[in-house]
């Protein structure tokens, strides 16, 4: 099981804050994104943005990063704090 979190405008666009999903072994963040779009076709326009950032276990990673079972993955827009 993978825990997936969404933040800020992405959370509002998807109307989802958190979900759990099963992934094949050796899936990457890109694979997870494809899986989510398969499960929720209306999410395509929001998850396709090339501006989105991803973290795995609270560390920023690239889209090619391989996800392990039990990981916490987050998708979010560029940060705007400070």
């Amino acid at each position: 099981m993978i825990t997936v979190l969404f933040f800020a405008q992405l959370r509002e666009q998807l109307q989802c804050e958190k979900l759990s999903v099963e992934l094949p072994a050796d899936s990457s963040v890109t694979g997870l994104r494809e899986k989510l779009i398969e499960l929720h076709p209306t999410w395509l326009e929001f998850l396709a943005s090339d501006k989105l950032l991803f973290s795995v276990n609270q560390t920023l990673v690239k889209a090619s990063h391989v996800i392990q079972n039990g990981d916490e993955v987050a998708f979010f827009p560029p940060v705007t704090g400070g």
Binding site: A8, E12, P77, V79, T80, G81
Partner: protein, 148 residues
């Protein structure tokens, strides 16, 4: 110390804590970011600040670790407020003490530039025209790139 909180902070108290009983601290720089009335031409009434609990603290610690590898820092503190803020409210505090002013100035500026581009916080602006998520700015990315 990294603190994420809804409550306001007191710059005078933070200054005192940065220097208390430390006669090595020859230079202290503080930065405060505040909710201002005009952002990119929009009339701002207030802000809502969201963060990613856990990752935000972790990201800020990594930024501090990087600053400490570059400059001689004696004490430091980062406070970032979350939740609903009003016009003129404090948002963020960065304080750094050092023996020398170059270290204190550069470390504080670096912490802010990296916080702005690497720490998971998101601002939603409340304006008369409604509320809108703030877009990240190219100038902040450029400011952070100066330190690479």
């Amino acid at each position: 110390m990294i603190v994420i909180q809804q409550n306001d902070f007191d710059v005078g108290e933070e200054y005192k804590a940065l220097v208390a009983d430390d006669t090595a601290a020859g230079a202290v720089v503080t930065f405060v970011g505040r909710v201002r009335d005009l952002n990119l031409g929009r009339d701002v009434l207030g802000l809502h600040l969201e963060h990613y609990p856990g990752m935000t603290e972790k990201s800020l610690q990594a930024i501090v670790d990087e600053a400490q590898s570059r400059w001689k820092i004696l004490r430091w503190k980062i406070i970032h407020r979350i939740g609903d803020l009003h016009l003129g409210d404090n948002i963020v505090f960065v304080g750094v003490s050092s023996a020398h002013r170059e270290d204190a100035f550069h470390a504080a500026e670096f912490l802010m530039d990296y916080l702005k581009t690497r720490a998971p916080f998101w601002k939603k602006e409340l304006t008369k025209a409604g509320s809108v998520w703030v877009e990240s700015q190219e100038k902040d990315l450029q400011a952070a790139k100066r330190w690479e």
